[in-house]
Amino acid sequence: MIETRGLRKSYRSRVGRETRTVDAVRGVDLKVAEGEIFGFLGPNGAGKTTTLRMLATLIEPDGGEAVIAGADLRKAPAEVRRRIGYVAQGGSTWDESTAREELVLHARMYGIGKADAQARTVRALEAFQLTEYADRKCKTYSGGQRRRVEIALGIIHEPKIVFLDEPTTGLDPQSRAYMWDEIRRLRAEGMTVFITTHYLDEADALCDRIAIMDHGEVVVEGTPADLKREISGDVLVVGLDPDAVEPANSLLADEPYVRKVESGGDSGLRLYVDEGATAIPWILRRVDGAGLKLRSIELQRPSLDDVFLTKTGRSLRES
């Protein structure tokens, strides 16, 4: 559905008198299959939105190629526009308009006739449970309602692919769960959904496949399960007294069965080990032998954050 090769974009920014070139996206290769929810994960400033905006024809790439829903991004952007939907991060509704007006207008901008646009609007309002508020001004909507209108706008012309830029950012947990269901419904209707997010749990729970982006590059791509499986071994979360964290860190980092130690601040350490069950008694003995107080120890399966950590050396939570 989407195939990109070497997609690049750099910006020139002026700092004082100096002009600097910032490589926002430095060669992105992606393959997104039809009918999947593809998640684009990464810290803020990783280049997710820039990539998305290039794919949605909003900014022109400096280099590279992309074919989207069978249309060439560089040669036929107008054709790409017809086949995709795009929902921006910052909103796209006008305070003084109603959801119905917005939807009809947006459908008509795709060249759809008036009667058809109105019929589609009625169906979309129904599907997104917005009928009740359809004729109220957008400024009266809650954050969740407004986001639903925006998603409905993005798919009113029944595109093959819809791009959603951080669709759940700023929503309360309930609206977020509701939005996940909506996104799954789009997939069930045969749409390919491309979302960006910086929530690990969202990528894990919602996406069929993900790509993790950092500093303008895709560092890893695959299904969440495969990516986590690739990190062989377990994660041990060790709870310690605040003043015991540092000594325990240097103590355990030298142990042969510990592959990596990450400090979790005052609360303890995250240890990456080959086999959690056998490592636990060794750790207990070592920490106890050094006279440090251990509060808790917990065995965890690797998360997507651990995937990010092993690929970039940083935690996504911190960046």
Binding site: Y86, G90, S97, H106, M109
Partner: protein, 251 residues
């Protein structure tokens, strides 16, 4: 065909929103009305005009051109609000015609200007201004072209600077000399030679001269077609330039 359809689409929405909040049309007309009521009465003696009606024939055309210039130049503010709300980006992901995104908005501005011009004209009629309807319609055409040009410029600049803080001083800086060099408040016939020479380079001074000729019923005056031609050419240039800004990537 597609451009016309899309322009109509954008125009319809803009007019709908304007009608929902028509107070802005009246806010825009407030200042020129004040000029008409509180400044124009000074003109009969200042201009040595034979009657108040004659003075109005000189002053009202200038006032209308002023309204068209300022009304247009400050339309960019509304666009920046739309930019911020994501409306422009949302439009740009659709295959909608780029020139229609501009024209739909600029035509709304033209309509709202003409409504304001009609209000001013009717008020001026109460002060014994008399003008032949055919000449008046031609004058309105001139005003429409000016508003189209200035609002297109304002939209193009708004898309470039993307902030109200930059747009306001920029537009004021342009508007001030344009206003003073167009003989709007007083005819440039009163000006010294160097000032008249400078004003020749100001297209709006040609537009004001042309509109004044129309208001005195001098349809054959070459200033009429010169003014119309200059404003027409400039509005085409302005529209073409601003439409390109809509087509280019803006956030």
């Amino acid at each position: 065909m597609k451009t016309a359809r899309d322009t109509w689409l954008v125009f319809q929405r803009q007019i709908l929103l304007l009608l929902r909040n028509p107070v802005w049309v009246f806010v825009g007309v407030f200042q020129p009305v004040m000029y008409l009521l509180l400044f124009a009465p000074l003109l009969k003696s200042a201009l040595n005009a034979p009657s108040q009606a004659e003075a109005y024939k000189i002053f009202v055309p200038g006032l209308l051109v002023l309204l068209a210039i300022f009304g247009g130049l400050f339309q960019g503010f509304g666009l920046i609000a739309e930019l911020r709300a994501g409306i422009i980006e949302r439009s740009r992901v659709t295959p909608v015609s780029r020139i229609a995104l501009l024209l739909g908005r600029s035509l709304r501005d033209v309509v709202s200007l003409i409504v304001q011009a009609i209000i001013i004209t009717i008020l001026a009629l109460a002060f014994d201004l008399r003008v032949f309807i055919g000449d008046l319609l031609l004058a309105y055409l001139m005003l429409a072209l000016i508003a189209l040009m200035t609002s297109a410029v304002s939209y193009g600049v708004a898309l470039k600077v993307k902030s109200e803080d930059a747009l306001a001083p920029l537009m004021n800086t342009v508007a001030q000399p344009v206003l003073l060099l167009s003989g709007i408040l007083l005819p440039l016939a009163l000006a010294p030679g160097w000032l008249q020479g400078l004003a020749k380079w100001n297209p709006f001074s040609w537009a004001v001269d042309g509109t004044r000729a129309l208001f005195v019923g001098d349809l054959g005056n070459e200033k009429v077609w010169q003014g119309l031609a200059i404003t027409a050419v400039l509005s085409v240039v302005a529209v073409a330039w601003a439409a390109r800004q809509f087509a280019r990537s803006v956030r």
